[in-house]
Symmetry: C2
Subunit: 153 residues, 2 copies
């Protein structure tokens, strides 16, 4: 493992007084290489061949720690559990409410103001998330129209 940011991750962990363990580097690398917005279980399954002793609960704990550090992003799909994104440059996500797949949306395609620390008095904003929720092309081609006109949710 020596994806573009191994040392950067180690430094980031150290700065947070956390140890740079093999599990953490493996999980970070898996996220770095995936563009599928994997769940904790996805990551676990990806890594279990190369790391047979890795446990699912370690994956959960590690993802939590990294999200708290700001090293990765969490994506709430509203379908099933949380998903994770190792690519933290500003961008948005489009989530299919039928199949749960998550697509990236360029920030430049839908720019928003990221420096608005004062939206709510005394609320310390750590991130602004924009989700486009709807039906993806694949699902839309599979089924007919829903009974009610799409809106909300």
């Amino acid at each position: 493992m020596d994806s573009r940011g191994e040392q950067k991750i180690i430094d980031q962990l150290r700065r947070s007084r956390l140890r740079a363990t093999g599990q953490r580097l493996a999980i970070m690398q898996a996220l770095d290489e995936s563009f599928e917005h994997p769940s904790a279980e996805d990551i676990f399954n990806t890594l279990r061949k190369a790391h047979p002793t890795l446990s699912l609960s370690t994956v959960y704990k590690t993802l939590q720690v990294m999200a708290e550090m700001g090293a990765i992003l969490t994506i709430e799909t509203g379908i099933g559990g949380l998903r994770y994104d190792g690519h933290i440059h500003p961008h948005h996500h489009a989530i299919c409410i039928r199949c749960g797949k998550v697509y990236d949306v360029d920030f430049d395609q839908y720019p928003v103001d990221l420096n608005r620390a004062d939206i709510i008095p005394n609320f310390k904003i750590r991130s602004i998330k924009v989700y486009f929720s709807g039906i993806c092309a694949v699902c839309d081609s599979l089924k007919g129209k829903p009974s009610a006109p799409p809106a909300g949710d």
Copy 2:
């Protein structure tokens, strides 16, 4: 129950070819009257006195149906489960990642373009959600700084 929109809700259900049952009206009314962004269980607990036979699974099913109709909004907090909002005028949400409380943010305070059906080719957008995630005033006053500088998540 005759909050401002009982008949409107019945019509909305009918339009979706759904039956207007007492449970559905009660749940809708509870959402209409709450500004706490309740969870399914919150709603269940609110209604159980007046509706002793109401079941939690009915609450889940009803909320799901209403979200699909676009009659209510779902809020993914990333902490615990889904939360619901009966007030569907355009607005955003700020979520405290420590206590899970959800605050409303005026749309005018942070306007975004809601008519961008073309962000992703062939993706049918049903809603655009903007979440501000961070630490609310109450939680911030309770604890000192975290070990790492806030960012991401």
